[in-house]
């Protein structure tokens, strides 16, 4: 069987931007700040496109959830090579209260509607650092999960996944359909070229709401405060290696 792939993309503050906490501690400053596709999602999109190029997949559908601006991220996925997009529009006010569980229910509903049998997501988004959505999407659908993937191999109904685990690598076999979360070494994502960016503008993007899918967006988690991390005081510069080793010996560390 060929795969029909759903791939999730999230718009986040660009990884190179220095994060600033709002003075009222309600969150971080997002206005006027450069945003990009979550880096792990770029890897997910790349893997989906490669599956199609290698004739393991028939179609790659990119999905994003969030306010109007999320469409930019969807366009990037289309410019990379996804066939079409789905934007599940969540107004900004609701979006800050939506968590990974609610997003996973949206992905699960869309997978059913689109008859997808493979969902590829980034292992975590670099804003919330939750690392939950793929696992929960698999749970909601009762599908197998291959998290922190560094290699995928699809053979008929069997998906072999090499996973990044704490002590090294682990290989598992999953029965399709399945959900995969992409880790850093799965691939190196391509850049969207200008001609492809132009072409992507003509690709189809469907717009839905969570309500259309029957998903309640309310999370049980309330953010009480977002604060700056404690600052470490800068220490001293030592003149040479002798002095360094001397200091470490003095402190009883070596």
């Amino acid at each position: 069987t060929m795969a029909r792939v759903l791939v999730g993309v999230k718009r986040v503050i660009d990884y190179a931007v220095k994060i600033r906490v709002k003075p009222d501690k309600s969150g971080v400053v997002t206005e006027g700040v450069k945003h990009s596709m979550n880096p792990f999602d770029e890897i997910a999109v790349e893997e989906a496109i490669r599956l199609k190029e290698k004739k393991f997949a028939t179609e790659v559908i990119a999905v994003t959830c969030g306010p109007t601006q999320s469409q930019e991220t969807l366009r990037t996925a289309l410019a990379m090579g996804a066939d079409r997009g789905i934007h599940v529009e969540i107004p900004a006010d609701d979006y800050v209260k939506t968590g990974p569980l609610q997003i996973s229910k949206i992905f699960a509903k869309l997978a059913e509607q689109e008859k997808a049998n493979l969902i590829i997501l980034g292992k975590q988004a670099i804003d919330g650092d939750n690392n939950q959505t793929a696992q929960m999407t698999a749970a909601v659908l009762d599908w197998a999960q291959g998290t922190f993937a560094s290699e995928l191999k699809l053979e008929g109904e069997k998906l072999t996944v090499v996973r990044e685990v704490d002590g090294g690598l682990e290989t598992i076999d999953l029965k399709m359909p399945a959900v995969v979360s992409a880790d850093l070494r799965l691939n190196e994502p391509r850049y969207a070229t200008l001609p492809n960016i132009m072409k992507a503008k003509k690709k189809k993007v469907a717009k839905l709401t969570a309500k259309d899918l029957g998903v309640d967006l309310a999370s049980s988690i309330e953010i009480l405060e977002v604060a700056d991390p404690p600052q470490r005081l800068a220490g001293i510069k030592v003149e040479n290696t002798e002095e360094l080793v001397g200091k470490l010996k003095e402190a009883g560390l070596v």
Partner: protein, 312 residues
């Protein structure tokens, strides 16, 4: 208040992060039970029996739990939860815990909380976001709190003084959806990164993989673990399981020595809770010096052999 800690095993022995999770469970308060599930459990059960704070151990020894597949462990945990109604389900925020607990939470239809660094009250937790550049305090109204625990943020529970009862788990059939095939663990006699007292990490400044031999040699002399920055991993110098940082491992040793590491935000997130930080870098402007207790502006290819000599 009662907590189930899902114990983690590696090669049939308890992993250290389980003891950090037990401490977090004790901090929440109430009874603490531990689930040990796997193809063979006796060694981990023996270890856990004497751990302070654990009142009950539930053992699920069955061949179908080989490889600790989340598709098989989740129904088991759900069955145990339905019988005991714990207020909290905890595990270490390791590859194991991060893989398993969100699946359990979704099945319970509750929002899980990942990688906590502190507990304010039984329903209020502290965690990092944006690679440690902001600290978030969250309160949950879930009936069951499903939480993973950052190992370096909680002391390990004492391995003596406890005396827990041991019960068998209910029989729950494994899932046919997934099967464990093999593992390829990096072989090393050095201490494990997240448990080592001293960590020496190399960055892009190491220039290639062979040059890491210098660090291995020094590490063996100091009984240290060797880590790396994401830049060194991305450049192919060393495998990913050596990566220290927000996308790799979080470490907080007594002594952290950063060698040829510039100090990108993402790396700092993985090591800035270390007690003492040493930075060796030839670039005096490298951001790593802003967090280091002792900074040495020097070519690492000169400084590391010198350190090696001085420590003889």
């Amino acid at each position: 208040q009662s907590t189930l800690v899902v114990a983690e095993q590696s090669d049939g022995a308890l992993t250290p992060i389980t003891l950090n999770a037990v401490t977090a469970a004790c901090k929440i308060g109430g009874d603490v039970s531990c689930l040990v599930a796997g193809a063979s459990c006796s060694k981990a059960v023996e270890q856990l029996k004497s751990v302070a704070g654990v009142s009950k151990i539930i053992v699920a020894e069955d061949a179908s739990y080989k490889g600790y597949m989340p598709e098989s462990l989740t129904p088991l945990i759900l069955q145990i939860q339905s019988q005991n109604n714990y207020s909290h389900i905890l595990a270490g925020a390791s590859a194991f815990g991060k893989n398993l607990l969100p699946r359990v939470a979704a099945k319970l239809d509750v929002d899980p909380i990942s990688d906590i660094i502190d507990i304010k009250s039984p329903d209020t937790f502290v965690r990092t976001i944006y690679a440690g550049n902001a600290i978030q305090t969250v309160k949950t109204s879930s009936s069951v709190k499903v939480v993973t625990v950052r190992g370096t943020s909680f002391e390990a529970a004492a391995e003596t003084g406890g005396s827990s009862s041991v019960d068998d788990a209910p029989k729950v059939e494994g899932s046919p959806l997934s099967a464990w095939v093999s593992q390829e663990l990096s072989k090393s006699d050095r201490p494990e990164l997240t448990a080592a007292r001293i960590v020496i990490s190399g960055g892009r400044g190491m220039k290639n993989g062979e040059n890491f031999d210098m660090l291995y040699k020094l590490a063996d002399k100091m009984n240290a673990a060797v880590g790396a920055s994401r830049a060194a991993v991305d450049a192919g110098y060393v495998p990913n399981d050596m990566q220290v940082g927000q996308t790799g491992k979080i470490v907080a040793p007594e002594l952290y020595i950063a060698v040829g590491i510039s100090g990108a935000i993402q790396h700092l997130a993985g090591m800035k809770d270390s007690k003492t930080i040493v930075a060796i870098n030839k670039d005096p402007e490298a951001p790593i010096f802003q967090v280091s207790d002792y900074g040495l502006v020097e070519d690492l290819f000169k400084a590391i052999p010198q350190m090696d000599d001085l420590l003889k």
